[in-house]
């Protein structure tokens, strides 16, 4: 499941960040920011127009990600850490 498919307020664990193309700097930056396997994430809010960008909580930080960016993150729902 993609991070973009996660309903507002729901939590999940990051599985992986996929490169949209070879040596994708955006995917690289996402990994730098903590989007790595096993990290809990939550969709905190969605912007008014077209629910783009999304506000994602990871660790104690909140990042605004456009849908195209969040699309790179695959997540796993089920049991999550707080």
């Amino acid at each position: 499941m993609r991070l973009t498919d996660l309903p507002q307020g729901a939590s999940a664990l990051v599985e992986t960040v996929e490169d949209a193309h070879a040596s994708d700097p955006i995917a690289q930056r996402l990994r730098d920011l903590g989007f790595v396997c096993g990290e809990p994430v939550r969709v905190v809010a969605r912007a008014p127009w077209g629910a783009d960008p999304l506000l994602i909580q990871i660790g104690s930080t909140r990042f605004a990600l456009r849908r195209a960016e969040a699309q790179r993150v695959s997540v796993q729902t089920g049991q999550t850490a707080s």
Binding site: G34, P53, I58
Partner: protein, 619 residues
């Protein structure tokens, strides 16, 4: 002390308080605010530790990582690698981390540690961490990281005690690298650093909850799809209405005071050129511009409070989609908002935009935002031509016209962005990836300092470039004296009269008389000077010296259609020189300066032409 100073660099994630710490240690007053990317350049300062050790402190732009970098992050990386021209590698790195945000910040600390320079960690914002019940076992953290750790509170006067003590006693040494010294391939190394951070946090940090409950409560409203945009619109409207309602009465008071001073000076001085220079040049010209200081300060008050509060990145989040549709990005919002104060910090602030294409687009539209130097021009014309009439009970017509002029600038920027988006060939994807900080109560002292700084900058401009131009305007409006037996007003025979009449040809279709056309030249150096120039010209031609009487002089000399056209001209015109110079510096290209100047001239001319030609049929 004969010893060479200890060279220390402040490094860390964006918005962790490096600059606040820098200001605290060196007594400097570098700009601080609550969003990522306030510091975009390296800044240097000096101080002595309690035992007299000299320290040369570098404040560097915040960075998330050194792998994929924006222009400001590159500065930081280059300094640490010794690649920055004229900058030796620092003796010691003080890594600053926000104690409430260690999950993110410690990873970067580990990345910096891998560079192998002597390093200590300053755990900043310990006050906020304690308030949220976050407990850090500092000794354990230091042991796990393999580097000294001190707690700091950069916003408190004595908040750097621990760090100073450490700098005093600590001999810089390369720490034991905590992890494997070998560098595995990128993805693997990432997972390793993150895993290491998690292990350290488990051992040394207790966090009752991941987020600040207060932030969550505020965000529930400010980021709501319906309430959020309404709150944003209300905040923006309040700012512009506030500038007019609070600033205007003070402006009038200053105008009265200058009238009184001018009259006093006129009584003392013997008649002659000096009398004319002081009353017509200095008091009319400078006094009129100085009168707008309160309005400018009110505008800055709002901007500073917004910057400190942490609300601005929220606004950027709400507006991102809209800004993308006009070829910009949510990240453009903060540079564009600072352009309401002045386009120069706005253009420089675009360095925090990672993407070169988005950055250039933002630079090109930033001068369309209504900067504070336009405010005197607008306020003068609005005061003279727009009646003070209540609208819908709470608003007044003058405030609404001012708001409309600001909206015109924004709409212009959107139109220009949209056109640029469709002209360029590069349609590839560009990232937002923007951090939203915790809210913070603005500190009265910081706001007061910020206002003081801005006030002083304004006064320096006033006594520098504006004074010089005003005296020049007085000179060319006064000399040469009319020939014996001349019948018209004396100013018609002056240099100013001749230049103005020559300039009037291209500007006549916009409804500008020769006095206005003439004032456009000094406005190119600094926009407010247009007001000073008009005041001088009309005052030499025989008139009083303050804003109100300049307003009367204008109202009796030009029609409303010309005034509207002039306001529209100022909304779009390519000004000022300093803005063009900073565009040249930031983009390293004369072509971008030419594009910027060219499109703004065309837009301003056409918009003013249309305004005048339509308005003169109706009013």
């Amino acid at each position: 002390m004969s010893q060479a100073p200890l060279r220390v660099a402040l490094v860390g994630n964006p918005n962790c308080g490096k600059t606040a710490l820098f200001n605290l240690l060196t007594g400097a007053r570098q700009k601080v605010a609550n969003y990522a990317g306030v510091t975009v350049e390296r800044k240097e300062g000096r101080f002595d530790t309690p035992t007299g050790r000299r320290v040369q402190l570098l404040d560097l732009p915040g960075a998330y990582s050194f792998e994929s970098t924006s222009p400001d992050e590159r500065v930081t990386r280059d300094v640490l690698l010794g690649r920055y021209p004229g900058e030796a590698v620092p003796d010691l790195i003080v890594c600053v981390a926000d104690a409430t945000n260690l999950r993110l910040h410690l990873r970067f600390v580990l990345e910096v540690q891998q560079m192998g320079l002597p390093i200590v960690l300053a755990l900043n914002m310990m006050d906020a961490a304690k308030r949220r019940g976050i407990v850090v076992d500092v000794a354990e953290l230091a042991r796990r990281l393999g580097m000294p750790v001190v707690e700091t509170i950069a916003v408190r006067r004595d908040g750097a005690h621990g760090l100073l003590g450490l700098l005093d006693t600590h001999a810089p040494s390369v720490p034991e690298p905590a992890g494997d010294a070998q560098q595995p391939p990128s993805a693997q190394r990432h997972a390793d650093l993150h895993a290491e951070v998690r292990a350290i946090l488990r051992a040394a940090v207790t966090m009752p909850r991941a987020t600040d409950a207060r932030d969550d409560a505020i965000d529930r409203w400010t980021l709501d799809p319906v309430a959020g945009p309404l709150i944003l619109a209300a905040v923006m409207f309040l700012v512009f209405q506030g500038v007019y309602s609070f600033g205007k009465p003070m402006t009038d008071a200053i105008g009265d005071a200058f009238d009184w001073l001018g009259a006093l000076a006129a009584g003392w001085l013997p008649a002659g050129p000096l009398h004319s220079l002081i009353t017509n040049g200095v008091f009319s010209g400078l006094g009129t511009v100085l009168g707008f200081l309160p309005e400018i300060l009110v505008l800055f008050l709002f901007i500073l409070v917004l910057e400190e509060s942490g609300y601005l990145p929220r606004a950027a989040f709400l507006l991102d989609r809209m800004m993308v549709s006009v070829g910009l990005t949510g990240r453009s919002f903060i540079p564009l908002l600072s352009s309401f104060a002045c386009a120069i910090p706005g253009v420089m602030g675009t360095r925090s935009i990672t993407d070169p294409r988005d950055r250039l687009a933002t630079i090109l539209v930033a001068p369309l935002m209504t900067c504070s130097a336009r405010l005197p021009v607008y306020a003068l014309l609005i005061g003279a031509f727009i009646p003070h009439r209540p609208v819908l009970g709470v608003f007044n017509l003058q405030g609404i016209v001012l708001f409309a002029l600001y909206v015109a600038g924004i709409a212009g920027a959107m139109a220009v962005g949209w056109v640029m988006k469709h002209l360029r060939r590069d349609r590839s994807e560009h990232a937002l990836l923007m951090e939203l900080p915790s809210y913070r109560m603005p500190k009265a002292r910081d706001i007061a300092l910020g206002l003081w700084e801005r006030g002083m900058i304004f006064l320096k401009r006033l006594t520098g470039v504006i004074l010089a131009l005003t005296v020049l305007m007085w000179f060319i409006s006064t000399f040469p004296a009319p020939p014996a037996g001349a019948t018209g007003p004396a100013i018609d025979y002056s240099i100013a009269g001749y230049i103005g009449r020559a300039l009037q040809y291209p500007f006549a279709p916009l409804g500008f008389n020769w006095q206005i056309s003439l004032s456009l030249i000094p406005a190119f150096a600094a926009r407010e000077t247009a007001v000073a120039a008009l005041a001088t010209v009309y005052s030499v031609a025989g008139g009083d010296t303050d804003v109100v009487s300049l307003g009367h002089a204008l109202a009796s000399n030009i029609p409303l259609a010309s005034a509207l056209s002039l306001m529209v001209w100022f909304a779009f015109a390519p000004q000022c020189m300093s803005t063009l110079a900073v565009i040249r510096r930031e983009t390293r290209s004369w072509r971008n300066v030419a594009i910027s100047f060219g499109y703004m001239f065309v837009v301003a001319y056409l918009a003013a032409l249309v305004t005048y030609q339509i308005a003169r049929h109706f009013v």
